[in-house]
């Protein structure tokens, strides 16, 4: 762990010095960013991780970083009491819901951007666009939208607080984002924007992949991809386990 962190710091130093020693390239680009690591492996001992986004800006302005992903359709159901039992009745399905969302900003967010601009740029969990696929309720869809955010937040997947962005010498910046232990696997997008007077001056996207690794990931993927073969192996294992167990104890 120590070693990994040291390596990470060294790499950052190296990359930052590359960015600084290339002022010509930076002159054309108002924003240069990179992410470390670009790939996170989740194995059975995974207890969470951090990714560090760092970059250089060549124009004055504030920086906002969002990390979101993987997007998938989500069904929100609401229980109603039917004959004394709580039953899922109403439901609304939403398109492309990010399973994870975190952000960081160089100043308090409301000082950087006004609410309309936050909506337009989908910045902050309250401003994520949630379009419905279908609606099976007579009630307000907004309560279901709210439930998406609440349940994700309760699982620790929508970060409750806006992270800090450290800016050095007015141009070099660094944001640290936390991935919790239950981080979903898939593709993530880290978007960095340079903002002045609520206007986005520049925008950069970098990608992050979170994958399962290790034996449990292989079992999971095998069970999904080769259901029939997996089923046969599981049955064979059960037969052998039961049979061996029986034989072992009969001898005693």
């Amino acid at each position: 762990m120590m070693l990994r962190r040291m390596l990470l710091n060294l790499t950052i130093l190296a990359l930052v010095s590359v960015a600084l020693s290339a002022p010509l390239a930076a002159d054309n680009e108002p924003l240069v960013v990179d992410l470390l690591p670009e790939r996170v492996e989740v194995d059975s001992s995974f207890t969470g991780s951090t990714v560090i986004l760092f970059g250089v800006k060549t124009q004055p302005g504030d920086i906002i970083v969002t990390l979101r992903g993987p997007e998938a359709p989500v069904v929100v159901r609401r229980k109603r009491r039917v004959a004394g039992i709580w039953v899922n009745r109403d439901s609304v399905a939403f398109r492309d819901v990010p399973q994870y969302y975190a952000m960081a900003a160089s100043r308090p967010i409301d000082e950087i951007m006004e609410a309309k601009a936050l909506d337009r740029n989908q910045i902050g969990t309250g401003h994520i666009l949630l379009n419905t696929i279908w609606t099976r309720t007579a009630d307000e869809v907004d309560s279901f939208r709210e439930a998406v955010r609440r349940t994700r937040a309760e699982e620790g997947l929508y970060a409750p607080e806006i992270g800090e962005i450290v800016v050095i010498d007015g141009s070099l910046f660094r944001a640290t984002l936390t991935l919790p232990a239950n981080v979903p696997t898939g593709d993530y997008v880290a978007e960095t924007i340079l903002v002045r007077d609520s206007e986005v001056l520049s925008r950069r996207e970098v990608h992050l992949t979170v994958e399962k690794s290790g034996i449990s990931a292989e079992i999971y993927n095998f069970a999904r991809g080769q259901g029939a073969l997996y089923g046969l192996i599981a049955i064979a294992a059960a037969l052998v386990a039961g049979w061996v167990g029986g034989v072992a104890f009969r001898k005693n």
């Binding site: 609440r150 029939a228 167990g245």
Partner: protein, 304 residues
Amino acid sequence: MEIYLPIAEISTNVFLLLGLGGAIGFLSGMFGVGGGFLMTPLLIFLGVPPTVAVGTGTNLIVASSVSGMMAHWRRGNVDFRMGALLFSGGIGGSWLGVSLFKALREAGQIDLVISLFYVVFLTIVGGLMGFESVRAALRRNARRRRKAHQHNWFHGLPLKLRFRRSKLYVSALPPVIVGFLMGLLAAFMGVGGGFIMIPVMIYLIGMPTSVVVGTSLFVIVVVSTVSSFAHAVQNHNVDIILALLLALGAVIGAQYGSRFGQRIQGEYLRGLLAVMVLAVGGRLLYGLVARPDDLYSATLMVMR
């Protein structure tokens, strides 16, 4: 020692799982019941998703029934002809059950249906066991003698077949229908269904008790195998690591359970088991009746 269960997608303590398997195995060895009907709800209480608890349960039943079946087979206590009729119905029932299970999962109702099934069956089984144990305790000395089997309405049904091992000449329809229902239960609850099949075999079909347990184990192995396979293919909810850990515990527990059971007067323990079964059923019922903390739940849409 924590272990990550790849399909259930939770981390649990290895010894907790071995202990749970052992406890269920002990009970099943002592009382001669499968124990699946306690295993699935306990796994749900542990935080295993209900669908995975059921799918894994079907696999576990295979492991915990096979050695008993082989022992009965060696002694010639399996009526294969009757068994074949039962499991031919059972295979149909379990495949249909797993397909229904999938449809309910997509409709977001499967957790509710699993709980409801369990509340109903645990109440029936617990109630009957409690009733039996009280009655047995009351008239321990009053023994009644039973006929080989009685003739009832059921012996007038068509499609009669001769069953040499069971010394019977009865219709083929009831075993197929009973097997079908068993298959449904196996698919929905992850249980073997012995607690339903055995009374039917004895009281309704009139099979001699000597072949009842062996034949029912034979059918349970076949039907659970089919259910487990169908779940693995259609619902991807069989956790092989979870099943093997529980099976290991159960195999060991069953050995001690059966030795312990032979030495002890059954009525009071049976009464205790009845109380446990009712308590588990009550806990599940409470989960259905109590107002949930959050009425809303969000899940990823199931992809076809």
